[in-house]
């Protein structure tokens, strides 16, 4: 009797079970398909429902009119203008502040514990419910700084809300630029600022711009913090950013959707379609900007 166990033929040591492995792949593929199908179904149902309700109300008068107690005559121009003004101010504030903060954290600050703590906290801030920012905005901008319930206070509040998102997205975009790019610029005698401004920022620009545009879309779609800091649901004039009442699209939608009459539900749906189109435009813009800025980039 040999001490060595009989050696099995090489084939029998494996159990290829090709059919079973293929089957598990197919099952997983099916699960993924089901997940995306479910989402699409929900989205399509929502869109169809909104569009069907909105269709009778959507016309030029709706876009250029002002709110009215009679749904047939109601329009959303004050809300559109309010949203536009807030968008402009939020963009002007968050772009320079957010990108500068990100550049500092990613390119200038040393990789210390304080820096990492700061970045973790900024990430956490991005997850704080927007109503909390509303409370902050009410205490800080509306009352302490006495801006009152104005577009300016709303824009400042929404800027605080999306700044963490902008900063995190920008940091990620900057960190995604290979270290070799920094060394390449330095090796030609670039100063740190020249390296950042002429080499790293252009390379990170697609990611930064995408982050900012998506964050803007979020700011424009917010209603909760604005309710708290005093947006109105019935404004019949075009708002002045620095004083007086204002409304924005999400607040207008909220106001109308609360009303029991079916016609108000209809114009609410019509306003939803308008804001959906606005979001679509912003997202498309993000894609276009990304494609344009990254045409030379391929790491």
């Amino acid at each position: 009797m040999s001490a060595i166990a009989p050696v099995a033929s090489p084939v029998s040591r494996f159990e290829p079970a090709v059919m079973r492995r293929k089957l598990s792949g197919t099952v997983f593929y099916g699960a993924c398909l089901a997940a995306i199908g479910l989402l699409l179904l929900a989205l399509v149902a929502l869109l169809v429902d909104v569009f069907v309700r909105a269709a009778p109300w959507l016309d030029v008068d709706f876009l250029t009119g002002v709110p009215s107690s009679r749904p047939a005559r109601a329009g959303i121009l004050p809300a559109l203008v309010g949203t536009f003004e807030i968008g402009v101010i939020v963009g002007l504030l968050t772009f320079p502040i957010g990108v500068a903060a990100a550049i500092y954290l990613a390119e200038y600050a040393s990789d210390s514990r304080v820096n990492r703590l700061l970045q973790t906290n900024i990430s956490n801030l991005a997850g704080v419910p927007s109503i909390i920012y509303g409370i902050l905005g009410l205490a800080l901008f509306v009352r302490a700084l006495a801006f009152g319930p104005t577009i300016l206070a709303a824009a400042l509040t929404l800027s605080l809300l999306i700044l963490p998102v902008v900063i995190i997205a920008s940091i990620e975009a900057l960190k995604a630029v290979p270290q070799a790019q920094r060394e390449g610029a330095y090796a030609l005698g670039a100063s740190r600022w020249q390296m950042v401004s002429r080499s790293i920022l252009p390379a990170a620009a697609p990611g930064i711009m995408t982050g900012i545009i998506l964050a803007m879309a979020r700011a424009i779609g917010e209603a909760a913090p604005l309710i708290l800091i005093g947006a109105f649901t019935f404004v019949t004039f075009l708002p002045n950013p620095l004083e007086g009442q204002y409304t924005v699209l999400p607040i207008q939608i909220y106001g109308w959707a609360q009303r029991p009459q079916a016609d108000f539900q209809g114009i609410s749906a019509a306003a939803i379609v308008v804001i959906l189109v606005l979001m679509l435009v912003l997202n498309a813009l993000a894609l276009i900007v990304r494609a344009r800025l990254s045409r030379h980039i391929q790491w």
Binding site: Q181, Y186, R295
Partner: protein, 297 residues
């Protein structure tokens, strides 16, 4: 070549970059000529001198007590096994390692007699005079033209940019490949072309020394040969230091060879320095002999 720019304590820029008129280097296209190693290295003027240089990453000593000289308009090759500190050493020569937070250098590195690590010396000015080409081609995500113009722009080049770009690309033996693609992305070029683009952008700022950290390790043999021919051409005007894993490359392309290895403590040190022919045919040290004959490393 601009005649010996005055080297003040601030490592001042050469006249071209102060916007004065200048006579650019003669345009030459790399030819297929055979490169004959120069044996008279000892008589040559020293550009870079290292005296007892040790390099540390935190408490780890990566390189210990290196003393060596780099001769003007020569190709000096640094060879040795992986991890012996060749890259660390070459990156101390233009203060590129300053970017590593825990890094520090001991000893003195003299560039044209001046201490590169003196307090008054700005690393930005050092790197303008001592350029670097990296292991993996790292063109900027910009057009071919802008890649070459980049260094000149940041250094305040005032003369005709089109001329500089063409001259630099010709000197890097890349002009014929890219003259119709100047507006295309530098990243769309092949690996060998990208590396020559990086060389073109380095010589566009007219440095005195070009450091090459394994410039061919990511390239195919044909591109490697092109780069070697280019180096032979460039040494007429530039001092070149090249780190290479490829002993044939060092033997083919360099005038002087520095052989490094590492000790028990993993700290790299220089075993032997000499004319390339001597190192490869008649090494004095047993370690060198084992390495160049392929018995080790």
């Amino acid at each position: 070549m601009v005649e010996e720019p005055a080297l003040t304590s601030q490592l001042s820029d050469s006249p071209t970059f102060r916007g004065e008129s200048h006579q650019g280097p003669t345009v030459r296209i790399a030819t297929m000529q055979q490169h004959a190693p120069d044996r008279g290295a000892e008589d040559r003027e020293t550009v870079i001198e290292l005296r007892d240089v040790s390099c540390y990453y935190g408490s780890f000593r990566a390189v210990r007590d290196v003393s060596l000289t780099v001769a003007k308009r020569q190709i000096t090759a640094l060879i040795g096994p992986s991890g012996c500190g060749k890259s660390t050493l070459i990156r101390t020569m233009n203060r590129m390692n300053d970017l590593v937070p825990s890094y520090r250098t001991e000893g003195s590195l003299l560039f044209e007699g001046q201490d590169l690590y003196a307090r008054s010396v700005d690393p930005v000015a050092v790197r303008r005079r001592i350029g670097m080409v990296f292991q993996k081609p790292n063109p900027f995500p910009k057009t071919v033209y802008e890649n070459v113009a980049f260094g000149a722009r940041i250094n305040g080049y005032k003369a005709n940019m089109d001329e500089l770009v063409e001259r630099s690309l010709r000197r890097a033996a890349l002009w014929d490949d890219v003259k119709d693609k100047l507006k295309q992305s530098g990243m769309a070029l092949s690996g060998g072309q990208q590396q020559r683009l990086c060389i073109a952008r380095t010589i566009a700022v007219e440095p005195d020394v070009i450091l090459m950290d394994e410039p061919c390790s990511a390239l195919d043999p044909r591109s490697t040969l092109q780069i070697e021919e280019l180096m032979a051409e460039l040494k007429r005007d530039y001092t070149i230091v090249i780190v290479t894993h490829n002993m044939q490359q060092a033997a083919r392309a360099s005038d002087t060879t520095i052989f490094m290895t590492m000790g028990e403590d993993r700290a790299g040190f220089v075993v032997e320095t000499g004319p390339t022919i001597e190192i490869f045919t008649n090494p004095r040290d047993r370690l060198t002999e084992d390495y160049v004959s392929g018995r080790f490393g």
